[in-house]
């Protein structure tokens, strides 16, 4: 007797899944553009020391507020001009990419891990545990996110690290809610009952059996939170509560540029443009991810 069923290895299944994912993702032109821009952004951040023509904190006293090279009075040495203390805009923008990506990764990681943990417990145990946790999440969600982040920073003290912690705390309920909803949906499925009957511990049920099946909406939410984190941390920087000068964080650069808006358009325009392009690229990618990962959420 020969076995007629073709056995597919786990690796092959995974390869097939990735292929299918890429098929749906690449259908969405915007998502692919977003991905390309995002990859460029990551490369810029990684290779900032090689790409930047100048040191981002070096002040050229002979070139204060020099305009971009194509404008009248511009110099080829400073392609996008210089700021009020003579620092090269282009170099600062390139180094700024490091801040934005770093902030996005840290914020999403903290919010995601915290949210998954809390959501798993609430969804898995249900009852009063769930009730208490979700009421606490409701309280966090009742505050406008930027305001709560601002107040948290006021408590913790201004600075990049504290701004990231504050934003992560504010975002975390979204992940908790999503995880909880997904867990409650999966909990009653047969494979979970089967694992339970087979004697799996609660921890194993939560993290190994249920969690992997709840990841799709979390990945989409993580992408959206990544772009919001870039926006909100720039806003905090702009309000003087995030990264502190002379950091070349884009929001902080904008705050320093504010008083020159009517004299030197380039010091205001470029950092904001950098924020917009990064956030837009990540949002485009998020749309594509949602379409590819979650057919239920598919945009009609």
């Amino acid at each position: 007797m020969t076995d007629t069923t073709v056995k597919i290895s786990d690796a092959a299944i995974r390869r097939r899944q990735i292929k299918e994912f890429w098929f749906y993702f690449s259908q969405n032109r915007g998502a692919v553009i977003g991905l390309v821009v995002f990859v460029l952004l990551v490369l810029t951040a990684l290779f900032a020391p090689l790409l930047a023509p100048h040191d981002p904190t070096q002040q050229y006293r002979d070139a204060l507020l020099a305009p971009p090279f194509w404008a009248e009075g511009g110099r080829a040495g400073f392609l996008l001009g210089t700021d009020a203390v003579g620092r090269d805009m282009l170099s600062r923008l390139i180094y700024g990419a490091q801040y934005s990506l770093f902030i996005g990764i840290v914020v999403v990681a903290i919010a995601l891990i915290g949210g998954i943990f809390i959501g798993l417990i609430a969804g898995f145990y249900g009852g009063w545990v769930d009730n208490v946790i979700m009421r606490v999440m409701d309280v966090v969600l009742a505050f406008p996110s930027l305001l709560l982040a601002l107040v948290l920073v006021a408590v913790l003290g201004p600075g990049l690290t504290n701004a990231m912690i504050a934003i992560a705390i504010v975002y975390q309920p979204h992940f908790a809610r999503l995880t909880r909803a997904a867990v409650m949906g999966e909990k009653a499925r047969e494979y979970v009952t089967a694992a339970k009957v087979a004697g799996a511990s609660n921890l194993r049920l939560m993290f190994k059996t249920i969690l992997p099946n709840c990841l799709a909406p979390l990945i989409v939410q993580a992408t959206l939170s990544f772009s919001s984190a870039v926006l909100d941390s720039a806003a905090l920087g702009f309000l003087g509560m995030g990264a502190q000068p002379p950091a070349s964080e884009w929001g902080t650069m904008l705050a320093e540029a504010r008083e020159f808006i009517l004299r030197a358009w380039w010091v205001v325009t470029f950092p904001g443009l950098a924020i917009l392009i990064s956030v837009l690229a990540i949002n485009l990618m998020g749309d594509g991810l949602r379409d590819a990962l979650d057919p239920k959420l598919k945009r009609s």
């Binding site: 009742a142 406008p144 601002l150 006021a154 808006i261 325009t269 917009l276 009609s300």
Partner: protein
């Protein structure tokens, strides 16, 4: 319906208590001695310290302090600002109309533009209008509004010189506040040019504040319309020979509006957060700028109560949205 409202109200109680706990805990979490922070004094003598502590209730156990705090709240006592020494509540009430005026204008712009754009994009799905407007919506959605505001100032105030850079009305005009809304008050005052001045001050901040809600509303309207237009009742309406305008305007739009109204309501929280940035950029004397100024001036009683009031307002607005939702969608009410 009354039952529906009462249940909803009951659900608010624990969240409301949670918010007061956050506001109460905020002062105690701050680095430094809460007594001195709340009194706004430094290096006081021990007798004076004991006096302040007793006056603010800090000499009692924490749970008694909390009950005292709740009791004060219920009596409308939200503390005094350290800077102006005025009651926080009266400061809030003076500044709140400015934010409401700005927010209302923003939500009107966002709805008046966002809904038609979304509807047309859905009807002409795949057309150049659809593609351009949805790309625009995505850009608006990704916009750092503090930068957008600065760009508009550069263009409209700097280059074209059409609008003023900051404030609510030109200093030339003075009239006592009646409603607190500058547009209405300037009309009542009857001073020539006052209304125009108020309007020109309002337009840029409103556009900036409207940007993100506008993008969200347009996207939501489009997807809601697309969903509804695939429904049987719309096909039936078409099949029985109704004019396209009637099918879209009456049968499709009315049902598509249900999720859109929720979206519009939920933008209020977004607007209040956006108001912090918008008011800062345009020096608009509303509660957003008040909060920012208070945080940087360490006027903690204001921050504490402002946080509480803003959260309460967001909750009440969300409740109203919930109730409206029940009103226009009977399925929710009778579930």
């Amino acid at each position: 319906m009354l039952r529906f409202i009462l249940t909803k109200l009951l659900y608010l109680v624990p969240t409301m208590l949670g918010i007061t706990l956050v506001a109460f805990g905020f002062i105690r979490l701050l680095p430094g001695d809460p007594v001195l922070l709340m009194a706004g004094e430094r290096g006081v003598a021990p007798e004076r310290y004991a006096q302040i502590a007793a006056q603010l209730g800090f000499d009692k156990p924490v749970w008694q302090q909390y009950l005292l705090y709740l009791n004060n709240l219920l009596h409308g006592d939200l503390g005094n600002s350290l800077v102006t020494k005025k009651p926080v509540l009266s400061e809030f009430l003076t500044l709140f109309p400015a934010t409401v005026e700005l927010g209302l204008c923003a939500i009107i712009i966002a709805t008046a533009v966002g809904v038609p754009v979304g509807v047309i994009a859905a009807i002409k799905r795949g057309s150049w209008f659809d593609q351009i407007s949805m790309t625009g919506a995505l850009i608006g959605f990704s916009m750092p509004i503090f930068w957008w505001g600065l760009l508009l100032i550069i263009f409209f105030s700097g280059i074209l010189q059409w609008t003023p850079v900051s404030g609510r009305i030109s200093l030339m005009y003075f009239f006592p506040p009646v409603t607190g809304f500058m547009l209405i008050d300037s009309l009542i005052s009857g001073q020539a040019g006052a209304f125009k001045s108020a309007l020109s001050h309002l337009i840029l901040p409103s556009v900036v504040l409207a940007t993100i809600p506008l993008a969200v509303i347009a996207r939501q309207t489009r997807s809601a319309m697309l969903e509804v237009m695939g429904e049987d009742y719309v096909r039936t309406a078409r099949a029985k020979g109704l004019s396209p305008l009637r099918v879209i305007g009456v049968h499709a739009l009315r049902n598509a509006m249900i999720p859109v109204i929720t979206t519009i309501g939920l933008q209020i929280g977004v607007l209040l957060a956006g108001a912090i940035l918008t008011e800062t950029i345009f020096s608009w004397p509303g509660i957003g700028k008040w909060m920012i100024d208070s945080i940087s001036r360490r006027d903690y009683p204001v921050v504490q109560s402002g946080l509480l009031l803003i959260a309460a307002i967001v909750m009440i607005v969300n409740l109203i949205v919930d109730l409206t939702y029940g009103l226009i969608n009977p399925r929710i009410r009778h579930k």
